[in-house]
Amino acid sequence: MDILIDSLLAILTIYLAFRCMLAPKLSKAVFVFFAFGLMLALAWIRLGAVDVAIAEAAIASGFMGVLMLDSLRDFSLIFSKNQERLEETASKIPIKKDSYHWTTALALGLGLILFLLISIQAIWEVPQGGGLTAIAEANLPMSGVEHPVTAVLLNYRAYDTWLEIGVILMGLLAIFAAGGLKQYRKPGLAPAQDPLLRKTILIFTPVLFLFGAFLLYFGKMGPGGAFQAAVLWGAIGILLHLGGWTVFTVIPRRMRQILVTIGLGFFMILGFTQMATGGAFFEYPPAYAGFLILVVETLAAISIAAALTAIFAFLTK
């Protein structure tokens, strides 16, 4: 019976991805993409990856959704050449349809189908590798946490996670580089006039914070952890920015810098300290492993949240 759910979900996912690429209008594509994100989150659940599902849910309906909606607005406007000034709301102007000469389309389509068939055959024949479940489980008591995914992320493969926290910081810098730093100082969105809107934002702020903190702490023993919490906390910043409280531009520069770098920096300094005392990079002393992982996760979540807020605040200018 399970197979019914799975196949329906798979068909919906594929259909949505396909429609997303073929939608004649950009706005359709974007909204179909949101639905695709939801289906994907359900697929993660079906595959038993609750951590990934939380991350996907947070990203698809949180961060990426907002960025996409915002960009959609941007792309349906027309800017005069070489001027950063809005000319008119171009909702009447159709977005160019993607059209190709039929020979090109046919050749590319055939190539893709060939690639697809080969890849399906390859995937079909993947031998049973066994994975690393057994080793991961055996070392779990020494890792300081009870949830294997958190153990992998923050202990066994902490190096990857460290680089990943770095990647978010680099992404922020990259977005600054693309946009020009000067823009950053412009005023943000107009403050929300609607009292209900303001109230809603203010109600949701503590809810998001508390649930993020819960996920962060719960990551020790179950699905959750730094990244999921970070997206929720980042959503606070995004919400506040949407409501006109430009938190990230208001706080002093030094504070901003500390917020954005503290996750990466603390993780790194912890690693260096361990090396100085004779351990390996990212090796935790077993007695404090659980505590240190929690601290690292908290600081990483703060940094990522700040970076996501900054990305959003910067992009909506």
Binding site: K92, I95, D194
Partner: protein, 101 residues
């Protein structure tokens, strides 16, 4: 046991019914405001029924609290969001920029 299961079944079926009603409303009603009305009401009710059914099925106090929390939050957010969408649409229609594309 059986009585409980019957209750769960009834609650879930009711939830499904309301979801279907909401979706049909979304599809069949002529303009955004009536769609908004149909969808938000029916969906919240449907989610409430399903939540109640599942809470009954799981029967753990912590989960019940969570599910209740989910439902309250949904009520809050969907009420707000339907209000916001409606107001947004009205403003858009007022300024004649409403028709997209």
């Amino acid at each position: 046991m059986m009585i409980k299961e019957i209750f769960i079944v009834i609650l879930l079926v009711a939830g499904c019914f309301f979801f279907l009603a909401g979706t049909l409303g979304l599809l069949r009603f002529p303009d955004l405001f009536s769609r908004l009305h149909a969808l938000t009401n029916a969906d919240n009710l449907g989610l409430g029924f399903i939540a109640a059914g599942i809470a009954l099925y799981i029967a753990s106090p912590w989960a019940t609290v969570k599910i209740f929390f989910i439902w309250i939050l949904t009520l809050l957010s969907s009420a707000t969001s339907s209000y916001l969408i409606a107001r947004f649409q009205r403003e858009q229609e007022k300024s004649k920029n409403g028709e997209e594309e």
